[in-house]
Symmetry: C2
Subunit: 296 residues, 2 copies
């Protein structure tokens, strides 16, 4: 028996594509995944990727968030400039005859220059699940976002490319010999974090020492890896202190990376509550659909 | 007519091998290059690489510096621990029947943990060319060394892997779209350097902005590249301030990277004199030969 969604929710990032067949009451009828992320597609290949993902479902209007709306994506959905609500009042229609796909634009900030795509939908979802919430959202990932929320609007935000840096340093510098491990060392993480937070100007002197301590003193890879993570997240917390100091903090994410941010903030006397990423994404897509359906 | 050296000087690094056929009066009779660096060789392949490099020369004892003496090199030449003179009184003989090759050990520092291999020979060369010199040597490269020299000894040193970081960030993060350029922007370098030096805790907030300014405000790649370089060298100068502040500074190196360090230090009121890298390397190998020849 085929699935007949009332509408389709799409989370279309750089490396992944995830879809949900939704009922008129906004419950999930079916779910589909694909690795046909925006980074693997030319603009003309998006319609086929969408058709393939939804091949077992009858046609329905779709709403999409993420890098699908980037300049190199299906079609550019121009940024909304902050301060603004995370979702706009209208969306960008993708150029396709076979389906009706609407794309949620990202947010931009002129100074300091910053951009996001996809996270605005998670912010909208978090606010839909937590009406009236004010504070700072931390969204850990390759490019972690720190977002100041007030009265339902995104006031300002700051991206730190800590995950991207960690991967580049671990994989493409001399430290590749020292930090590859499946294990972890909580104490080393905490110590390195505290060191960078109290003396951020020493960061550049700490990195090669991870290699030298391995050569001279047998420092293990799990400890070196946790220390590198602590140094980099410490540098991020030092740079974003105006965002998190004395604020109500919500972290959107799950797994070891979100855990590291929770522990890091807790060590600085800044408790944070954690919200599950996919759940808030779907809540945000649902909020966008609520806006869109009145216009169809 | 074949070359008959009195001795052979070798600079054997990770990616290159360079040799000089030397006279009894320590003048250069001939020079040879090869790309058979330590990183491309297993221990058993070193004798053939040496034989190939010197095939046009008659046999003579050789002295070598660099990664050839690392644990993964021809044979490990155990580090000398600082404080010490840059050169030891004896060297490590490579395991080969066909030739007499002696390897100069690197230097180690227990705390903060640090190591060097090859730079100790440049330090010895610099001191041979500048007898009685006291001050700080800056040796820019993939892993820049800052070395405190007093009374002919290396007192302490600090490695910053700034070049390695720059390459990893330029090649393997989202900034690869933003910083690849053959051009340069002096003003952007100076401004970013000054920014990190005065506010090192903000570094993690500056990097993604290079991408965002390109997307939002058309920041050019040459400017973004110079700014990235300024941010990273600024972080290095912030971390190494106890080394260079108020000291006599010598920079060993040449080309754009050495120029960047000269300009960076000058902007902080710290003038530096520059010494040519290959010249000091050969002077250091000559100083090592002077020690070795009395023992053969």
């Amino acid at each position: 028996m085929s699935i007949s969604p009332n509408w389709i929710a799409l989370d279309w990032g750089t490396t992944h594509l995830r879809g949900w067949a939704m009922s008129a009451g906004n419950t999930v009828l079916a779910e589909a995944h694909s690795d046909r992320g925006m980074g693997t597609l030319t603009p003309s290949e998006f319609p086929a990727a969408f058709a393939e993902l939804t091949r077992d479902w009858t046609a329905a209007p779709a709403i999409a968030c993420g890098m699908v709306g980037a300049r190199q994506g299906w079609i550019e959905a121009a940024y909304q400039a902050v301060p603004c609500t995370p979702l706009p009042t209208s969306f960008t229609k993708a150029p396709t005859n076979a389906a009706s796909v609407h794309i949620i634009p990202g947010l931009s900030q002129s100074s300091p220059a910053d951009v996001m795509r996809g996270e605005e939908t998670q912010i909208a979802g978090f606010l839909a699940l937590n009406p009236g919430w004010d504070g700072v959202l931390c969204m850990p990932g390759t490019h972690t976002k720190w977002v100041q929320i007030s009265a339902g609007e995104v006031v300002s935000f700051q991206t730190c490319m800590t995950g991207d840096l960690f991967a580049a340093i671990s994989g493409h510098t001399v430290l590749k010999h020292s930090v590859v491990s499946d294990d972890w060392d909580d104490a080393a993480f905490a110590e390195a974090l505290s060191d960078t937070l109290s003396r951020p100007e020493k960061l550049a002197a700490r990195l090669f020492a991870l290699r030298a301590e391995g050569l001279l003193h047998g420092l293990g890879n799990a400890t070196a890896k946790a220390r590198l993570s602590g140094l980099l997240i410490g540098a991020e917390l030092a740079a974003t202190k105006p965002y998190w100091l004395g604020q109500q903090i919500g972290i959107i994410g799950a797994g070891p990376v979100a855990d590291a941010y929770v522990k890091a903030l807790a060590s600085q006397g800044a408790p944070a509550t954690v919200a599950d990423g996919p759940r808030v994404t779907l809540a945000g897509l649902t909020a966008a659909w609520t806006i869109l359906k009145g216009q169809l």
